[in-house]
Structures are given as C-alpha cells and as structure tokens.
Amino acid sequence: MLLNASGCLDALVAPDVARQLDAFVTKTITPLPREGNAPQRIAETAHGMLNAIGLANPGRERFLGEMLPRLVVTLDIPIWVSVGGFSAQDYAETCAALDRSEAAVIELNLSCPNVDEAADGAAEIVAACRDATPIPLYAKLSAAHPDVGAVARAVADAGADGLSLINTLRGAALDPRTLKPVLARTTGGLSGPSLKPVALAAVHACYAATGLPIVGMGGVTTGQDALELIACGARDVALGTVLFSDPDAPARVRAELAEAAERAGVASPDDVFADAHDAEKHPHTRRKVTA
C-alpha cells in the first residue's frame, strides 16, 4: 500500500495527487489551532531539505467539523489522521473525538522535531490513546533515539497496532555568505534522499523488535527505494519529500515498484517482505504477508 507521509500533501488543494494513493494521511492535528513557525521555514541541502513548519493546523474542532468531512467527500480512499499534542491527555482526547469519525487509522505523531514543547513518553501516550479508542493506532517514531527498536517494543506493549518509521531528523543549514541559520528557528527536520539509509535501519530494527505492521518512509524517491523498505520489514510505504518535486510520484513509484520486484525475480513486491532479515535470528521474519 502506498501512502503519503503526514504533512507532505494537502488533499483538498491537490486531490488528484492524493487519489493516486491507497490511503491519505492528514497533516498532524493538535487540540488547538497552530499557525506554525515564522518564515523562513524551508531550506534545500545536499541530497535533502529541512523544514520547520511547526505543526501548522486548524485545530481539532475545525478539523473534525470542516476538514475531515471535506476529505471524506473528496477522496474515496481510507483517511489516516495524524494526531499530535503536548501531553498524553492531548493525544487521548483527540483520539476519543475521532472515535465517531471516518478515520481509518490514527497515526500518533510522537516525533516532530519542530516544536519546543516536550511531549510525554511515547509508551505513555500510546497507552492513553489505546484506552480512548478502538481505531487502529500507528506510532510514528523518530530514528534519532539511540535504540529505536526498544521504543518500538515499548509502544507495542502499550497497545500500538503498527509503526510509522521514520520522521525527519533535526538539522540546520547556514547561509553560506552570512553564516547565519537559514531557518527562522535555526533547526528543522531533515528529509529527502539523505534519510533513506536511516529509514532502512530503523525499519529493520523495529520489525525485528516487534513484528508489527510498519509504514516505511524516509527518502523514498523510486520504486527500488520502496522495495528495499519492504525487504527491511515495511508492510506499506509512504512518500514525503518526493511529492514536492514530483506530484505524479505515487503513480510513478507504484509502477517502478512492480518493475523493481520483477528485477528482483519475484512476482509481487510483497514477496520480498522482510527478506533483509536473517530468519534464524529474527522469528518475526517468518511471518510473510499473504495479501
């Protein structure tokens, strides 16, 4: 299944791009509206880009009252709602509010690098949300943690149904002339092709640690990139930064993924699922997808 990474596509402004996907993931919704960070918010870097948008969103009330109904009418694919907040209670209240909505999956954004407020621990947030809703919960984790597999195990134990890996990594860029930060808040989240090796490692580690379904993302530009994430243990793949330069990327990557599978000598991309694992070391790897 091909999705977008949260915050990388506005399906109401570009519905034709969203309709190429198998499911649409919303921008992260917080309890209250957030205007986001002051400009400058983006910078291109070598093989990547930085963003410091700051979770700009209309807030939970307007999202539920206006945006989600419009998304449901506009798209005929499942809608995953990305949920953010600054305490376990924030997250849980939004999950409870979504309980009567059209949300197919709730992705808990536990890893935005662009806000100052510290969130509660990932497992604590997942546990609170688990109590608040039966809707499937995917925990979006950061690969910045020294042992992301351990975090994955903790959120799995707390009731997560799946994992989204990875979010951006904090970085900075300087103006080469002034040597001052390009971004107004100095740092932003690094995304793009430079992230792919980090994403492969994190998906590999978290699949080995939990066996949970994983949406793999981070620097996916081609079908081959997507196939490699699947081989590391991603059940589904999301596109982020590539959507900025190529709004036709979902259809292209989907076609390339089939070609890449053929080159790998298998009939379907699912046939390489978890192939990057040593089956003797990781018992999860024996669980093959039979879609």
Partner: protein, 233 residues
Amino acid sequence: MSRRERRSVVGTEPVGPYTLLRLERGGLDPGVPGQFFMLEAPGRLLPRALSLCLAPEGELAFLIDPVGPGTEALCRLAPGDAIHVFGPLGNGYRLDVARPLLVGGGIGIAPLPYLAQALGGAPALMGFRSQDHAAAADLLPGAEVVVEPTLVTELIDPSRDVLACGPEPMLRAVAALCPSAQLAWEAPMACGYGACYGCAVEIDDELKRLCVEGPVLDASCTKLQVVTNEVAA
C-alpha cells in the same frame, strides 16, 4: 490546468546578468500572467518557482537571476537538454483593469512582458540597480527605465491601476502609494502546489501559503516578510 511535463530547452540568451531560458511549450498552458511554474533544477532536490516572462509561439520563456545553485544550474542548460516543468500554478494578475501601469524592479520585471502582451500593450516602468541589470528592459520595448539611486516610486502615477513585481521594499513602497495595486510576491517554495507549507507568509494577519493565496495579492493584504534568495542553503 496545471500539468507536469518534461520539456526540451530551445535555447538560452544572456540578458545583462540574467538568462532568458526558452523551453518547448508542449501541452503546457502558459496560464495567466503572474502565475508561476516549478522548473526542475538539474542536480538539485527541489524545483525552482519562476513566473512566465514570455510566451512566444510554441515556447515558454523564463527570466532567471543566477543567485544560487538551482538557478545557476537552470542558466547552464543548453539546447537539447530537457527538464520537468510543472504549472501554471498560483493566482496571477487580474486583467480587468482600466488604466494599467506595469511596475517592475530588478528580476521582478520577469512577469511583465507576458503581462503587457495579455493586456494588449500597457505602459511600463522598470527600476534596476545598475545599467547592466537594466539590459532586461529590452524584453519589454517602450518601458520607462530608471537606475538607482532613482526609484520607480518617484515616477509612479498613483491614479493608474498598478500591477507590480519586485523586491519587498519596492512592493511596500508601491502599496503605500497605490492601495489598490496588485503585487506579485516571492517566498521559498519546495512544491508550488500547497503541499509543503514552506512558503507561508503573513496575509491579512494570518500565516498562509503564498503558492495557494498568491503569488499576486492585493496591496491591501499585509505581509510579514519576503525572502528573495533561493531555497538552497
């Protein structure tokens, strides 16, 4: 209707310190003057947002100021090269004006030749920082040209319907003189179609995406800041 197509380079022409990049038009719609296209910059991750300068038969032409690695790569393109072009995007100028006056500053004169053509001819006033830069005025024959220290705002007739594009201080000065002017702004954009939220600017006291709301805005809108450098660090 915006589309993304791979288009061949017809040619590049130096225009003072700028470069006019001419591309085959293919099935792309040139759009309304003031709208923009995202041009793939060879070797760079992100495309660059450029407003259409001229729309000769079968071509799209863009005036480029090489201020960073992406625009430099675009200026180095040669006939036979091909790049992806996505557009037209955003909201252009309203053309239902009675007494138009086109006002441009520096690389901001880029959309004015196509705008003048769409209006069936219109007086134009252009300001540049040097005689070298003023070579770009040749793209719109008949334009009145000033070079710093003279500023375009010293010559504007405020009774005209002003359609302007240029650096932030010029646009602010034009807005003060002509509250009903239409102003084309600039902000770093990764996508150009509302996906990245990178081009947020303050419009009517709210941070909004310039690619969705603009880039042409009424002078009565308030704006926080404009960044005229490339997105590249």
